[in-house]
């Protein structure tokens, strides 16, 4: 059984720039795919090709079984798309704008769907104000409302929380989580905490190529901070030295306020060894923090070399 969105050997060339370079992946129902990568990695271009806005140089995209190139209307009907920056017609009000989209999308229960998206995204207060007078947060929500008006099976969102305040970010994430059960969702983002919060899978692209394709947990395990131990206390020189001499410690990093972080050699755990050292120095009460790994560190390590 193939996924709802199938991307095969996608290539997009602008002049001599390979914006997308032989990209392949599949996303199925119930998955939330985080599309990560530095600026210019080809995330937006890939999304524009999946949604049928841009033709690929070569390769194939299938959405809900419809090849985007040969059956663009059928493919577009079953997907919802939030373009980067959530563009809308600035002179229209959200109400007029959503009605225009409904005129074209023709959802089954038109009135019900309109009420639902307006309610879910809290658009009532601004429903009859022109879009260009709205705050960035509201504009983004209008864009989101537009993308899910027809209850699409596939949702593609280019940086859905960009420019929102922390509360709005959280709202949008909760909303995506709620929708995720029976849909295929692809989001692009720069915000790594977002990947942990909503994605079931992450693809990191750089220079148009897939670098990794795995779950956020697996991704985190690649971090050198995975299983690192942070000792949050003021330590004497002798304790520091003893900790630093532990066999499995690769690097010792001082923490900003006090204490230090011990990074293990690959595949090793440090917790017990550290506890032993602390016990020997009568520091039983000192809190230890075992790190799960840092995504930003993984992201940096993976994408850094490509750009050098």
């Amino acid at each position: 059984m193939s996924g709802s969105v199938v991307v095969e050997n996608l290539v997009k060339v602008y002049g001599d720039l390979h914006a997308v370079d032989d990209l392949s992946f599949e996303v199925g129902s119930g998955e939330v795919l985080g599309f990560l990568g530095p600026n210019g990695a080809g995330k937006s271009t890939t999304m524009k090709i999946i949604t049928g806005f841009l033709p690929p140089t070569s390769g194939r995209v299938t959405v809900c079984g419809h090849p985007v190139e040969t059956q663009p209307e059928a493919a577009k009907r079953c997907l919802g798309y939030l373009p980067e920056g959530a563009p809308a017609y600035s002179e229209m009000t959200p109400w007029q704008f959503l009605n225009f989209v409904a005129d074209i999308r023709r959802p089954k229960d038109r009135r019900g769907r309109l009420d639902w998206v307006i309610g879910q995204l809290g658009l009532e207060p601004v429903l009859h104000r022109p879009v260009d007078t709205l705050s960035k947060g509201y504009r983004r929500r209008v864009g989101l409302a537009q993308s899910m008006l027809h209850d699409p099976r596939v949702l593609i969102m280019d940086e859905p929380t960009d420019g929102l305040d922390p509360n709005q970010k959280r709202q949008v994430r909760d909303f995506i989580n709620e929708m995720a059960k029976d849909k295929t969702i692809i989001i692009s983002t720069h915000i790594l905490e977002e990947v942990e919060a909503i994605c079931t899978r992450a693809i990191i692209v750089s220079a148009g190529k897939v670098l990794v394709d795995e779950t956020p947990e697996e991704l985190r395990r690649r971090s050198r901070y995975c299983n690192a131990v942070t000792v949050q206390a003021e330590l004497t020189e002798s304790v520091r030295a003893a900790l630093g001499e532990l066999e499995d410690v690769a690097v010792v990093e001082p923490e900003r306020n006090q204490g230090l972080t011990l990074i293990p050699r690959p595949g090793c755990t440090l917790e017990n060894a550290v506890r032993d050292v602390l016990l020997r120095h009568n520091l039983k009460e000192v809190p230890l923090h075992i790190q799960a790994g840092r995504l930003d560190d993984v992201f940096h390590t993976l994408t850094h070399n490509v750009h050098e």
């Binding site: 841009l54 209307e73 577009k76 373009p83």
Partner: protein, 244 residues
């Protein structure tokens, strides 16, 4: 069809949500009125027809139609809303036709609102209303020709000012292509049959015979073909350059 109507309605409503519609209609009525009374000597001619009124339409359209058409696509590309429009399940031809028809209907509304001058001439004398109706039709078709040129050019750029100037120049060439101003330039390096073909593209020649009351199928089909060709070009441009 439904998609086309949805796009058309959105566009048309858009004109009336901004000052564009009111400014355009006011200026159009003001200029068409004053030009026919002062420059066209509407009274002094002492003829019960609207020749003095229609003579100035090509020149009015030359400036006013590009002012409407310039935003058709350039604005969509500038704000990125084209990405939204073209990822809805609509075809390029529906979008191109919907936008064009909305703009054309809008100029039609402005044209319709000149009816007081028709009432005036009927009050003052006994004009041939068939000729007037024909001239209105010709004027409307000519506005469509200008609009189709402007729409296509608007799709080539994201800058409305560039779209305006390029449309104006192109419309000017079409307007005067039967006149020495344009023909002398081509005469130097093109064979005579080609020059003749260019001369036959003139808006003015085709419009002036309609204005005189001669409704020739060739003049009507000229405008229809011209509009079709430019709209077809518009679709090609949108397909090729929508993301550029």
């Amino acid at each position: 069809m439904n998609n086309l109507v949805a796009i058309l309605r959105r566009e048309l409503a858009g004109y009336f949500q901004t000052p564009v519609a009111y400014v355009f209609i006011m200026i159009f009525l003001l200029l068409s009125g004053t030009l026919s009374f002062y420059l066209g000597n509407f009274y002094e001619r002492e003829q019960a027809d609207l020749g003095a009124f229609f003579t100035f339409h090509p020149w009015l359209y030359l400036f006013l139609v590009p002012a409407i058409s310039m935003r058709l696509w350039a604005e969509e590309r500038k704000t990125g809303s084209i990405e939204l429009l073209m990822t809805l399940p609509v075809t390029v031809s529906q979008a191109v036709l919907g936008k064009f028809l909305a703009a054309w209907i809008f100029t039609g509304i402005a044209l319709f609102l000149t009816f007081p001058i028709w009432l005036t001439v009927n009050y003052l004398g006994d004009p041939d209303n068939g000729i007037i109706l024909g001239a209105y039709l010709g004027s409307f078709l000519m506005a469509g020709g200008f609009m189709a040129i402007g729409a296509c050019i608007s799709a080539t750029t994201r800058n409305q000012v560039v779209a305006f100037i390029l449309s104006l120049v192109t419309c000017f060439l079409f307007l005067l292509s039967g006149f020495p101003l344009v023909l002398d330039f081509f005469q130097l390096w093109l064979p005579q049959p080609v020059v003749d073909a260019i001369a036959s593209l003139s808006f003015l020649t085709h419009f002036s015979s309609i204005n005189k009351g001669v409704i020739d199928l060739r003049d009507l089909s000229y405008f229809v073909i011209l509009i079709s060709v430019w709209l077809y070009a518009n679709m090609i441009v949108v397909r090729a350059r929508k993301a550029a």
